[in-house]
């Protein structure tokens, strides 16, 4: 028995609706493992090819097959690519969730569904488009085993007809999806798509208001997920040792990287690899290898998610204290513990910033787009080697695993910054060195690599107390001097950290501070607040930690500053509390979302309206 009730609303008719162009969300509800990913990607790409800004978000279970999955595609002529809460166009393919999916729709939405589900009996205020999927798929897919997969392409055809998506764009998207080598599979899928289109054109008169119209907002852009973008960034940053342990949602970062490296980093003359990738036995080993490799002079990295970060804690502390570079990607998911492995959050900020026992702190980058995943990967490797310390790049599942529209990446022109490394010639000239001596006043000593052919090259690295010559020491003054120098180094890192992106409105009394994927929801929310309440806001998007002075300046310019957090405990705000003056902290307010879905603009707007009393 369903607990859902039919909302009493006006019945839908074709006459009563206005047209809504390039501003809607399609949600495809399926069962995971049913092969709907191709149909969804093709649909998203076809809209993209028509020049309309689009985003796709996969809400999937932590499971291989048989559980509900929702894929949402948002088309927005305004360029809003964050999640939108309301679904306008539902494709109900999962009998398990179909009733609830339909009942959750706003009035005026449209539903494509498999005819036997008889969903049209549920409501009168939405537009229903029934189609006999099984009957339609049989003639276009003679091989019964493939029907389950090809079946999904039928809804692409039906949607193409109803939303006025050019079938030629669907065909092109299919070819891109399958590549030239799988032309047969592309043809089979296109056949199903055409069958859906024809069925709809003959049997489904359009009554809903939604449609796609060609624009020119996506020319030259690419579609890519954040993990792949970060992987590409690593390759062009000259990564040489990659260690990892599989974990959702970060696995695809290294898996994609392996593909790129095989293509572009095997020496053409010798056939030898200019990189090493090791799938470790666990995250203790993957971070241990990354730190060992960083010590040995490699550009080393690992990639993980929250549970892996927890496991890496001890060795990250070693990296901090012994001053060893490594880059760690954290593609955040919902914690604590196993949490919701396939849902998104920004819940590792506090634990990562201060990861490991004793006094430790670590720089973090906050990419908000594939483009920034690419560039910040490069920044992170430079920062790690320049400051000889572990550096974190904080993605989240939404950024890492979903497909995003992006400007194409620019080729990095800045030479790799390998930091302060003394070669044999330098040692000959200098007559020796003290590993942890602050020669330059920036808190960063000079290091040597093992296998440097000079009798003065060696030093002893340890996670135990040491003096500036790297000798074991338990002396109070040695310990304090060392810890104070590490603090100076952290201040130097602050000076080198990427500045935030500030958008100040001269009249704004309210400011919004956020990082990463909160960007899209915040940008849209600011428009909502302006449009619906006539209130201007300013915004500051953080691109890294430690915070730079621009953040304090921004806070002081506004009466109230809302810190947007995708976690329960306001972790970004908590990091500010650790270092700001009470007067500045008093201006800070919190907006938090921690439901596991990508943050949407309405959630932020509602909170601002509530807290501001608008």
């Amino acid at each position: 028995m369903s607990t859902l009730e039919v909302s009493p609303a006006a019945p839908c008719s074709a006459e009563s609706v206005r047209r809504i162009i390039n501003d809607f969300t399609i949600q495809v509800a399926t069962v995971n493992g049913s092969g709907s990913q191709t149909a969804n990607s093709v649909l998203m790409r076809a809209i993209f090819q028509m020049g309309v800004p689009v985003s796709g978000k996969n809400m999937f279970p932590s499971n291989i097959a048989g559980l509900p999955t929702w894929f949402t595609i948002r088309a927005s002529g305004h360029g809003y690519i964050g999640r939108k809460k309301e679904v306008d166009f539902l494709v109900a393919m999962n009998p398990e969730t179909a009733r609830e999916d339909v009942m959750n729709l706003p009035a005026g939405a449209a539903v494509i569904y498999d005819e036997p589900l008889k969903l049209n009996a549920l409501r009168t205020d939405v537009h229903f488009y029934p189609a006999p999927f099984d009957k339609l798929v049989a003639p276009v897919c003679p091989e019964p085993k493939l029907r389950k997969l090809v079946r999904n392409m039928l809804y692409d055809g039906i949607i193409a007809y109803l939303l006025d998506i050019d079938m030629e764009e669907i065909r092109k998207a299919l070819i891109t999806q399958f590549g030239a080598r799988k032309a047969k599979a592309a043809a089979l899928n296109l056949g199903a798509c055409q069958a859906g289109y024809e069925y709809a054109s003959k049997n489904l008169p359009k009554t809903d208001p939604f449609s796609v119209e060609r624009m020119n907002e996506t020319a030259g852009k690419i579609i890519i997920d954040g993990n792949s973008a970060a992987a590409m960034g690593c390759m062009f940053a000259g990564v040489t040792v990659v260690t990892w342990y599989p974990i959702t949602p970060s696995s695809s970062l290294v898996e994609t990287l392996i593909g790129y490296l095989k293509r572009h980093r095997v020496d053409k003359e010798t056939g030898k690899a200019t990189y090493a990738v090791v799938q470790a036995e666990d995250e203790l080993a993957s971070i241990g290898m990354a730190i060992g490799a960083g010590w040995g002079g490699a550009r080393s990295m690992t990639s993980t998610a929250g549970p892996g970060i927890s496991l890496m804690s001890e060795i990250v502390g070693l990296g901090y204290y012994a001053e060893i570079p490594a880059v760690i990607f954290d593609v955040q998911r919902v914690g604590p513990s196993t949490g919701l492995p396939t849902r998104t959050a920004q819940g590792d900020l506090l634990s990562t910033a201060l990861l490991s026992h004793g006094d430790t702190k670590h720089p973090m980058y906050f990419p908000s787009s594939p483009d920034e995943c690419f560039t910040m990967a490069g920044e992170a490797f430079d920062l790690a080697e320049k400051f000889q310390t572990p550096v974190f790049v904080m993605l989240d599942l939404d950024l890492g695993m979903n497909n995003w529209m992006s400007d194409p990446f620019e080729y990095p022109t800045k030479p790799l910054d390998r930091g302060k490394v003394l070669a044999a010639e330098d040692l000959e000239r200098l007559g020796g060195f003290a590993r942890y001596k602050d020669v330059d006043g920036d808190g960063v000593g000079y290091r040597t690599l093992p296998n440097t052919s000079h009798p003065g090259a060696a030093y002893f690295t340890r996670g135990s107390g040491h003096n500036d010559r790297a000798a074991y020491s338990e002396r109070e003054d040695d310990y304090v001097n060392n810890m104070d120098r590490l603090n100076r180094k952290f201040e130097s890192i602050r000076g080198a950290m990427l500045k935030p992106v500030v958008d100040s409105h001269p009249e704004a009394k309210i400011g919004l501070v956020y990082e990463g994927t909160s960007r899209y929801a915040v940008e849209e929310s600011r428009d909502q607040i302006r449009r619906e309440h006539g209130v201007e806001t300013s915004s500051l998007r953080l691109r890294g930690y430690p915070f730079t002075h621009e953040l304090v300046d921004f806070i002081r310019k506004h009466d109230r500053v809302y810190i947007v957090d995708q976690n329960r405990d306001a972790q970004l705000l908590a990091l500010m509390r650790l270092e700001f003056d009470p007067a500045d902290i008093a201006r800070l307010h919190s907006i938090r979302y921690y439901g596991g879905l990508p943050l949407d603009a309405r959630t932020i707007s509602d909170e601002i309206v509530r807290q501001e009393g608008l």
Partner: protein, 348 residues
């Protein structure tokens, strides 16, 4: 008064012109008589005698008394005293980064058989080129005398506590998990330890050397099976181990009796003058059986238990560039602009 001056005796140097002083380490802080100090002394001799450039060596360790010892030999080599039980991962990363390194890892029974057992297994699986010395005393010294996982069943602590759990035999485990060089020796057996270490230097892969190294403070009493007395009474050598480096002529040492010569990867020879005529050091199952039988008899079998010089090491498996990855120039590690353009085009 004599008027003739006698010239000072020429300083003794090795084949690359270095004195033994160049191979020394810092002053040990371990207890006087600790077996670990003998291992450090042997390492100094071995690297000196083989004429290895000390700055080519990198020393790795975890945490514990054993892990302190890299500070007590080869001051001219880089050292890394890392985290308890995680030395294998750190060494793996460093050697991948910098393949010119001759890596030596010093661990103890706590590091290898307890907290780091998993990393030890996976290290074996990868056959990383590394000399892996277990300074095995069956006891946690640095935390003042608790049993380790290699302490024998029914052995006693100084406090009288009896061990009621069976031990791990690191050599048997190493054999099971795919080791390519497994040896057991006793820190007090200078000649055997030296020969085994030299062979390990020449081995192309991971060499596991389990050195029974008595703890004079916490585990050298009656009732301990890792004491000097027990080892002197129960050590059962399989063979006399000789090692002839590639730069020496093997004919200098013509042996009598049954001899097994193993040709090492670098052209040197590991010569095993068999005491047990049936023992074959290239047979993994022979080794496992021998260990099993010795255990039943309460003997500690020493010597090179197994060697396989032919299995590819981890760097070969990864098809790594011949030059160290650490110092590859930017031109080799950053693909061209055309490569990025091509990738972008595929995503449009």
């Amino acid at each position: 008064m004599s008027t003739t001056l006698t010239p000072p005796p020429p300083k003794k140097i090795n084949r690359i012109g270095l004195e033994v002083l160049s191979y020394k380490g810092g002053k040990t802080t371990l207890c006087a008589g600790c077996g670990h100090n003998s291992v450090s002394e042997r390492l100094i001799e071995v690297f000196y005698e083989m004429g290895i450039e000390p700055w080519k060596v990198a020393k790795f360790s975890g945490i514990g008394c054993s892990s302190k010892s890299p500070a007590y030999f080869l001051n001219l080599a880089h050292g890394f005293n890392s985290v308890h039980g995680r030395m294998p991962a750190v060494a793996t990363g460093a050697i991948l980064a910098n393949r010119g390194i001759l890596g030596i890892g010093i661990t103890g029974d706590g590091d290898t058989a307890s907290i780091g057992l998993g990393q030890f297994m996976h290290l074996l699986r990868r056959n990383l080129p590394l000399i892996y010395v277990i300074e095995n005393n069956g006891v946690y010294g640095l935390t003042k005398g608790q049993f380790s996982a290699t302490a024998d069943l029914n052995s006693t602590l100084k406090t009288g506590v009896i061990n009621d759990l069976p031990p791990f035999d690191c050599c048997s485990l190493a054999l099971e998990w795919g080791a390519t060089f497994v040896a057991r020796t006793f820190s007090g057996d200078k000649r055997q330890l030296t020969a085994i270490l030299k062979a390990a230097v020449s081995h192309n892969g991971l060499s596991v050397i389990d050195v029974i190294s008595p703890c004079v403070t916490f585990n050298d009493h009656v009732g301990s099976t890792k004491s000097y007395t027990y080892m002197k009474d129960h050590e059962e050598p399989l063979h006399e181990v000789d090692f002839v480096p590639h730069f020496e002529d093997i004919t200098v040492d013509i042996a009598e009796g049954e001899v097994q010569d193993v040709k090492m990867h670098d052209g040197s020879t590991l010569r095993l003058r068999k005491l047990d005529r049936n023992y074959n050091a290239t047979g993994k199952f022979d080794a496992l059986i021998a260990l099993n039988e010795a255990e039943k008899k309460g003997e500690v079998l020493t010597g090179v238990l197994y060697v396989n010089p032919d299995k590819p090491n981890f760097l070969d498996m990864l098809n790594l560039d011949d030059a160290p990855l650490a110092t590859l120039p930017e031109s080799k590690v950053r693909p061209s602009r055309a490569a990025l353009d091509e990738l972008m085009e595929e995503l449009r």
